[in-house]
């Protein structure tokens, strides 16, 4: 029997449409197998990964407005994980010897319940914490927020989107009164004259997206801002546009310089500013001291390119349209909110948001990074993008949940603070982790791992032995994307259906089922359905009247293929393009907030005379996704990118005696990474680049700082000082492969 399901890719926020076809219902793998975690394998030995069994499902790209049938390597190979020998298919309990052994579900749930009760009794309800993820479906994200607040009674819930979208989200809320990553359908980019992308490398992170840049590239209008000549920046060569290569950490200054030119060359859309914005003159004063030549000195971007960028954006707005898009490269800073605000201010000066063919947007990263930030996994938020401190919002949600309002706790701690509190007095003692690999993905990862080890109880829901699961007392095996029903909201704010194509392994359970069982055992108020559609129906009610209103959307409509963009109040037809008539602030205007660069803390001095202080930036490779917990288990992807490599300019490498493929150490006051060097002229000479998909000795986040943006709580991922030196190690020895067996 051939069975097929129309669904979407499990990975990024582009949510490429795909069709999964199974030739027959094969029995999925059940026994756990070896886990290919890399820690500097010998060069050219990636084939050591275990041979995967034949995939259970065939993947086909499906025509859809976003991906137009295209998939990248990650999508093509996604089905190989369904019956991967390392799949966890039974609850596992860590023994006193540190070894995880299978236990029954009944036993597992009992343990979780008593751990919660124990922590609550000893330290209070806030000693139980929940860490969610932007990969959870809307239904699971919604239920996780409800479960944490009502069943666990804790305020301590946050999620990995704090590391991803929080700065752009905060800036969007501040300026527009609402945060939808792209407030327009992706296809709108097709006919644009000018697109400026800041800190976003879509050619690697979401390749099928690149189709939407073709028209602009052909017109020579693509402007890419990136300290590296990334694959995306390379599109600007041969007449495709401009590449601005600022020093890391100077994006905000660069944006102020471009805005300065817009103002001083009379390129401002004055009618728009007058009618639809407030705060203009304060922004003008704040950018007046950033003239192009000064900005050139601060950023390294030539004044003429700064002027040219401003002119092209203004000209594009008068022609086919201009778009300004930001990504994590400019947002993952301690001034990320201000940087995104500067990008929004620039777009407002030019009148882009709210027009029919121009705009500002942020490119959401994780699969459900959009929906995941709307329905209550955030420490300060209730479903429908409501504020947890807003009495009206609390009353509405309490009504839907059928509980007294005072039962809903107040705001909790944002992710970095939550993780810093692990095991501390008044901190979290018992932690549940869902869809997140915080041991690899969090800033100052060594400190986070110490925190995990100091917990009384750590429960991780995962389908692989991720680096975080390996730390867990209890691991609960959950479903993969092809085994479940649900909805996700893509980077455009369009709600999509995820459909089941396969029967899950016998021992795995949906997180909805797990939460329902735990809530039952904890005598929780309200109800906890394990059926996704029932949960979605409740989410509709809870979101009704909120900023992210889903009340007019149902499964049947999505199954008919209707394009549903929120806000979609019941009785409406949804909102493909926001801001046409008004912004979401009470007076309908967009708010311009003046922002200027702050001084940064002086980093610790380099204690190693043999090492050179350089700037570390981090990012992604095409082959891997997030912490690599999934993609490092795909044989084809691992073979292509088996290990982290530090990208360094040949001139800098030569001065330090570093050669292509030689081992290097990057260290700072937080930790050390040892990996191989890759020489490339695509990077600035004072900067090095590390991908963040790898664990242990190659874990880039051992070096990143847990200092956070005062508005968004975003940590500083993209501007850290490291001390770089070559490492002399006989390559034949195994001294560095200490953790191969973990």
């Amino acid at each position: 029997m051939t069975k097929s399901a129309d669904t979407h890719c499990p990975y990024c926020a582009l949510q490429c449409a795909m069709t999964l076809t199974s030739p027959a219902e094969l029995a999925p793998a059940t026994q756990p197998g070896p886990v290919p975690v890399t820690a500097l394998p010998a060069p050219a030995s990636p084939a050591a990964a275990p041979a995967a069994p034949a995939a259970l499902l065939e993947v086909q790209g499906r025509d859809f407005p976003t991906n137009r049938g295209g998939l990248c390597r990650k999508g093509w190979t996604s089905a190989t994980l369904l019956n991967h020998p390392g799949r966890i298919t039974e609850p596992l309990l860590k023994g006193p010897d540190g070894v995880h052994r299978p236990i029954s579900w009944e036993h597992a749930l009992d343990l979780a319940v008593s751990a919660v009760k124990d922590a609550r009794a000893r330290y209070g309800a806030d000693a139980v914490g929940v860490f969610g993820g932007g990969g959870l479906t809307n239904e699971k994200a919604y239920m996780l927020g409800k479960f944490a607040r009502l069943a666990l009674g804790t305020s301590r819930i946050d999620y990995n989107g704090r590391f991803c979208m929080s700065s752009a989200a905060a800036a969007g809320m501040r300026a527009f009164g609402v945060d939808r990553g792209l407030p327009f359908p992706l296809e709108a980019l097709d006919t644009a004259s000018t697109i400026m992308m800041l800190g976003s490398n879509v050619a690697e992170t979401m390749p099928p997206f690149v189709q939407h840049l073709k028209g602009t590239r052909d017109a020579g209008g693509l402007i890419v801002v990136d300290p590296r000549r990334s694959a995306t920046a390379a599109f600007t060569s041969d007449g495709g546009g401009l590449h601005l290569q600022p020093l890391p950490g100077t994006d905000l200054t660069l944006l102020l310089g471009i805005s300065h030119v817009v103002i001083h060359e009379n390129l401002v859309d004055t009618a728009f500013i007058e009618e639809r914005t407030s705060g203009y003159s304060a922004v003008v004063r704040s950018v007046n001291s950033f003239w192009p030549e000064r900005v050139q000195s601060l950023t390294g971007v030539p004044a003429e390119l700064i002027r040219e960028t401003a002119r092209r954006l203004a000209a594009g707005a008068r022609q086919g349209g201009s778009y300004i898009l930001t990504g994590r490269g400019v947002e993952q800073h301690i001034d990320g909110t201000d940087t995104a605000t500067a990008a929004i201010n620039l777009s407002l000066l030019l009148g882009l948001p709210g027009s029919a063919r121009s705009g500002y947007g942020t490119l959401t990263g994780q699969g459900n990074g959009q929906g995941g930030r709307e329905h209550g996994q955030k420490a300060d938020q209730l479903p429908g993008y409501r504020k947890i401190t807003d009495p009206a919002a609390r009353a509405h949600v309490a009504g839907v949940w059928g509980v007294p309002e005072e039962l809903i706790p107040g705001p909790g701690l944002p992710a970095v603070q939550l993780l810093k509190s692990l095991g501390k007095p008044d901190g979290v003692r018992c932690l549940f982790v869902h869809a997140s690999n915080i041991a690899v993905a969090s800033p100052d990862a060594n400190a986070v791992i110490d925190g995990l080890r100091s917990l009384d109880f750590l429960m991780v829901c995962d389908f692989f032995m991720s680096e975080t699961a390996a730390e867990a007392d209890l691991i609960l095996p959950v479903l993969q994307w092809a085994e479940e029903e649900g909805t996700l909201t893509n980077l455009e704010g369009r709600v999509l259906r995820r459909r089941r194509a396969l029967t899950p392994p016998a021992g795995a359970r949906s997180e909805l089922w797990i939460m329902a069982r735990l809530a039952e055992a904890l005598d929780a108020p309200s109800s906890y359905s394990e059926d996704p559609e029932t949960v979605f129906e409740e989410l509709r009610l809870a979101s009704a009247g909120g900023l992210a209103d889903y009340s007019g959307i149902d499964y049947a409509m999505l199954d008919r293929g209707e394009a549903a963009y929120w806000p979609y109040p019941a009785g409406s037809t949804g909102t493909p393009r926001l801001f046409q008539d008004r912004f979401a602030h009470p007076d309908g205007k967009a708010v311009m907030t003046p922002v200027t660069p702050r001084r940064r803390r002086t980093p610790a001095a380099n204690p190693d005379p043999a090492a050179k202080t350089m700037t570390l930036i981090t990012g992604r490779l095409l082959e891997h996704y997030q912490s690599g917990a999934q993609t490092r288990r795909v044989t084809e992807l691992l073979a292509s990118q088996p290990e982290a490599q530090m990208q360094i300019h040949p001139a800098a490498a030569e001065a330090m005696g570093i050669t292509a493929g030689s081992l290097v150490s990057l260290a700072n006051e937080r930790g050390e990474v040892v990996c191989r060097a890759e020489l490339s002229t695509a990077i600035r000479p004072e900067t090095v680049f590390l991908p963040f998909h790898f664990p242990e000795l190659e874990s880039a986040n051992r070096l990143t700082e847990a200092a956070t943006d005062p508005v968004s709580g975003m940590p500083e991922f993209k501007f850290n000082k490291v001390w770089v030196r070559p490492v002399a190690v006989p390559l034949s020895s195994n001294v560095l492969q200490t953790t191969e067996a973990s």
């Binding site: 998939l71 093509w76 189709q211 004063r285 050139q296 004044a303 003429e304 002027r307 300019h649």
Partner: protein, 520 residues
């Protein structure tokens, strides 16, 4: 604590200090009075020339908003001068007859243009009265005067070959005025640039339509215009340069007379220590153009090479930022924290970047040494200190010139004309004292297309489809196995199934195969 802070002067540096102190004012830790002589709140003087040629508006120069500051509780006094500072009583006496008490007083009085000694101009240094048709370029009224000349397509004579003069000349010429720059020495920017760079720069200015009158010594001005205004600048060789407006751009001098009047030590500027405090006067500070950092300690190493105020705004803003934090801590009563605040690091020598649309030039540091000056290069190379190294690139025909003067790989001087990316990179390296790549020519190639890596398409093992990770060899294999269209190749190899950017390359490989087959 509720400290009364008074700032004398309301230019760009004072504006920055006010911004930095606002949190303390809002928190009720400090009361702030700002006294500005001009009728307007602070605006950006760097852009006065742009305003003078009609490129921008006065609104777009504003750095502060007096009403907004008043709403925040700042006492803003515009159009008022400080007549006298009474240090004994800790108060300032204003030109409107009022007085203001201070706990901390900050001089941010800036500088004023240097008016050269020319017959026909009364050179009273404290209040120069310039005749009709003669102006400096410092404030909004000066800009108005220039604006009228430029709008009228008049002949403008710029006296002075410094960076402000050149910027004014270029902008005015571009906007339609007939402009002559009169400077001494063989080339403009004589104090900063070397001979080669100066020559290429002068040629570039001429190409932009600016007449250059070098090696000129001016002696006086002639007033034969119908309204009795300026008509010509007279030179010492007896010749005259005719024009309708004379713009004097001969540098600036710190305004120190008020400080001198109350007995503070001054040299070029008001002397302050590394905490920006006036010598022997803990209640008084000075920042920006009027301040000269030179501490009273004769042994201080940091002050050994100290130069007077640079006339650039960047150092002043850094001082304002630092002093804002320092005074904020003092006002909050956190005296220990204020004492622990690290001193402001010494300024690097200033970088001069020409603000102009048609030309690119950056110069910094000492550029006097030439590659063949053995004696100059080895001077100072003692006790293991490396000698100077010079790398130079000259292409005057195409308006390009670069010179890098380094010691131990770190720039001590730089000149870049006509090479924007190189200029931007060198300025950054200079400001960070970062080491240059041993192959200096790398820095020359940033402006050329060969800065990009080779396409690498010729290598069959190289990736054609990045999205799916398919090599040229794999695609060739599929074509040899019978695929003859892009979609067939896509189906067989997944190449071209992501962003679609490689479809042309796949087509090329298919065509190449069939051409080879047909000719075989």
């Amino acid at each position: 604590m509720n400290e009364q802070i008074v700032i004398v002067g309301f230019g760009p540096v004072a504006a920055r200090l006010v911004d930095e102190l606002l949190p303390a004012v809002r928190a009720g830790h400090a009361r702030l009075t700002v006294v500005g002589e001009e009728a307007e709140a602070a605006y950006n003087r760097v852009l006065v020339a742009d305003l003078g040629v009609g490129r921008t508006t006065a609104d777009a120069l504003a750095l502060s908003d007096a009403d907004a500051l008043a709403a925040d509780g700042v006492d803003v006094r515009l159009g008022v001068r400080v007549r006298r500072v009474d240090r004994a009583r800790q108060q300032v006496l204003l030109s409107d007859g009022s007085t203001a008490h201070y706990d901390r007083l900050v001089f941010a009085t800036g500088s004023r243009p240097v008016i050269p000694n020319l017959t026909g101009i009364n050179p009273d240094p404290s209040s120069p009265v310039l005749p009709a048709g003669v102006t400096a370029l410092r404030d909004l009224r000066d800009a108005d005067v220039l604006r009228q000349a430029v709008d009228g397509g008049k002949r403008v004579v710029v006296l002075g070959g410094g960076v402000l003069g050149l910027e004014t000349a270029l902008a005015a010429a571009e906007e339609g005025a007939t402009v002559t720059v009169v400077h001494n020495g063989p080339h403009p920017l004589g104090r900063n640039i070397d001979r080669g760079g100066g020559a290429v720069l002068a040629a570039g200015l001429r190409r932009c339509g600016v007449r250059m009158a070098g090696n000129a010594r001016s002696t006086g001005v002639e007033h034969n215009a119908p309204d009795g205004g300026f008509s010509a600048l007279l030179l010492d060789d007896g010749s005259a340069i005719d024009g309708d407006l004379l713009v004097i751009s001969c540098g600036v001098r710190p305004r120190t007379e008020l400080a001198e009047g109350c007995g503070l030590s001054t040299s070029a500027g008001i002397l302050v220590d590394h905490r920006l405090r006036a010598h022997h006067e803990p209640h008084i500070f000075a920042i920006g153009d009027c301040a000269e950092v030179l501490c009273p300690d004769p042994e201080c190493a940091a002050c050994r090479n100290a130069k007077g105020p640079s006339g650039l705004v960047g150092p002043g803003w850094r001082q304002a930022e630092w002093l804002g934090e320092y005074l904020g801590l003092l006002a909050a009563g956190a005296v220990e924290d204020a004492d622990l605040l690290p001193e402001l690091p010494a300024e690097q020598p200033g970088v001069i970047v020409l603000k102009a649309r048609g030309m690119n030039m950056a110069v910094a540091g000492d550029n006097s040494a030439e590659p063949w000056d053995e004696e100059v290069l080895t001077a100072g190379a003692v006790n293991g200190r490396p000698r100077l190294q010079i790398a130079q690139w000259a292409d005057p025909e195409h308006g390009r010139y670069v010179k890098m003067t380094t010691r131990g790989g770190v720039l001590e001087g730089l000149v870049s004309v006509g090479m924007p990316r190189t200029a931007a990179e060198l300025v950054g390296l200079f400001e960070r004292s970062a080491e240059l790549p041993a192959d200096r020519s790398l820095l020359l190639r940033l402006d050329g297309p060969d800065g990009l890596p080779g396409a690498g398409a010729a290598d069959p093992q190289s990736t054609v489809c990045r999205c799916a990770g398919v090599s040229g060899a794999a695609i060739q294999g599929a074509v040899e196995d019978g695929c003859s269209t892009v979609s067939e190749v896509s189906k067989a190899t997944r190449a071209g199934t992501g962003c679609g950017g490689c479809h042309e390359d796949i087509k090329g490989l298919i065509e190449k195969h069939f051409r080879a087959v047909s000719t075989a």
